[in-house]
Point group: C2
Chain length 122, copies 2
DNA sequence: GCCACTAGTGTCAGGAATGATACCATGCCT
DNA sequence: AGGCATGGTATCATTCCTGACACTAGTGGC
């Protein structure tokens, strides 16, 4: 859950930047998308294993929101035990260059971010 | 203030994606960066005018964090009334392709994000 | 003397985001 | 009959984010 949804994109010229960010600004969404780009299709449990620090509830939430935004598809197989598959939609796939840009920058520069602040964690 | 700072980037292969996102995942940071890309150097008040919905305190906070992360420089002119200029650092400038990717995607696809969810706002 | 201007800071409060934990259904295996 | 597996939900508590509002300094103008 980012914070605010502004679907009217009239606020300012850079507003679409914000709007885009809100789609995967959720705490784990970018990671989810990233793994879906890597692996294509993933079951709930597989995603969970790839994101060890996410609680089940969080993962469900984030996936539901991605689904509601049309970025991720959710396919339920009526089996027991339950079987649900998550994959990127066509729209979701268009985010690839964005995520790649993020990753590329991170791989190159993240280490050079000097955190001078107190209250540094992790 | 994103949420967690993990400076050790060992969590998962997509971790740098998250790390990058945390740099400008703050509610207004992407917008601030965007405007600095557009205009080069901006005074506090100018930024404030470009981001009408941000409170002074928020703007200060976000700028301080961007500064702490080494993305934005803050230059104080010892005058009265106060005069402070904000600009991108060299590191900050390297984020340009990332912000551009966000904007490009937003301009093209943001409108096609269908929000099926209840609780839609704005 | 009083007010305005700029760039803040301090405090407080409300709400949202997140986490912990427990619980559910159902079919299979033993 | 009991336990396990999967993909969830429900409830509660807490922590974090954000906004509203008031306040500051120092000089110039009326």
């Amino acid at each position: 859950m980012p914070r605010i949804r502004h679907t009217t994109l009239a606020c300012s010229p850079g507003c679409t930047v914000e709007a885009t960010l809100e789609l995967f600004g959720g705490k784990w969404k970018a990671l989810i998308l990233y793994h879906l780009f890597e692996d294509g299709v993933l079951r709930f449990g597989e995603l969970r294993r790839r994101l060890p620090n996410v609680t089940q509830r969080m993962l469900t939430n984030q996936l539901r929101e991605l689904e509601a935004d049309g970025l991720v598809s959710r396919t339920v197989f009526p089996e027991v035990p339950p079987h649900v598959e998550y994959a990127l939609t066509e729209l979701g796939k268009t985010l690839k260059p964005v995520i790649q840009a993020l990753k590329k920058w991170g791989d190159r520069y993240a280490h050079s971010v000097q955190r001078n602040k107190a209250g540094d964690r992790d």
